[in-house]
Assembly symmetry: C2
Homo-oligomer: 187 residues x 2
Amino acid sequence: MEALLQYLNNIRPLSDGLKKHLMRTVGSTRIKNRAFLLKAGRVCNRIHFIEEGLLRCFHVKGESEICSWFMKEGDLAISIKSFFEQKPSYESIQALENTVLHYITYIDLQLIYQEFPEFNFIGRVLTEKYYTLSEQRLYAMRMQRAAERYSYLKETSPELIKRVPGSHIASYLGITLATLSRIKARR
Amino acid sequence: MEALLQYLNNIRPLSDGLKKHLMRTVGSTRIKNRAFLLKAGRVCNRIHFIEEGLLRCFHVKGESEICSWFMKEGDLAISIKSFFEQKPSYESIQALENTVLHYITYIDLQLIYQEFPEFNFIGRVLTEKYYTLSEQRLYAMRMQRAAERYSYLKETSPELIKRVPGSHIASYLGITLATLSRIKARR
């Protein structure tokens, strides 16, 4: 919880009133490796801050699962469209390690935005940050071949290559596990 | 200009002070069909509101241009990563029709966020909206075959199919113009 408050405070100093309100409002939870934080078809009604652990976001296409991203300690975890529009999610979020999270519900967050206007500054800056990261991933996906996408991932998120099982990395890169192994062997 | 103020006011009523400040700060410009609003390599230092017209966002890959999106009247136009990080853009923005725009510079926008904290509410809501649309496009791109992507585009943005030249639509869908013609003929 201290990590979350520090994270927010670094973007814009929190007033005492807001800090107290957050301490009353923020919930905490732990989920085991392989457990689901969100299942497709449900509405994502909490925004999570990951204190410890690792999660993947994926959707099902035909018979296979497609990873769209990974989230680790210090990251926020939501299904974007489902959370912002409060509609059923097309994607699922699953733990890849035992994970410790703090969360605010969608309704509580809207109340905070109304009652503590200063929090809109923080919300705006965080949304801009994650939007930029998402655009960067999209660009990497459109621009590069599989080997280049792997190099880019290794360069920008080296810790993911170490922690995420190869099958999920391959799925994120849009290639088979065999192709991923060939790319790694060639390097 | 009235259209822009109305657009912002619909998200959250603007105070008189903010309205007056915006009327002093917002600039206006017109660009001709085929002219560039932003060239790759330059920093995107203005956020634009399109009052009239149509633009495409694209980047160069090898010998070809890849369209990443189209923006029309009522939309905001920026290169996300370049604007939010104030770094050189990897993409260009070009008019596809004669276009009328209003804009705020990055520096002026940061000052507005500081001096009129209420504007952070509007900035946050708009960022959430465009982030959600971007995620939706990314999902459509990952999920579907070319014919499905075309159907999805026609369903969600029918006016683009009418106004954007086929070569740019094909580029956005990641297919050749010949494949796009075959898909259209089959329907």
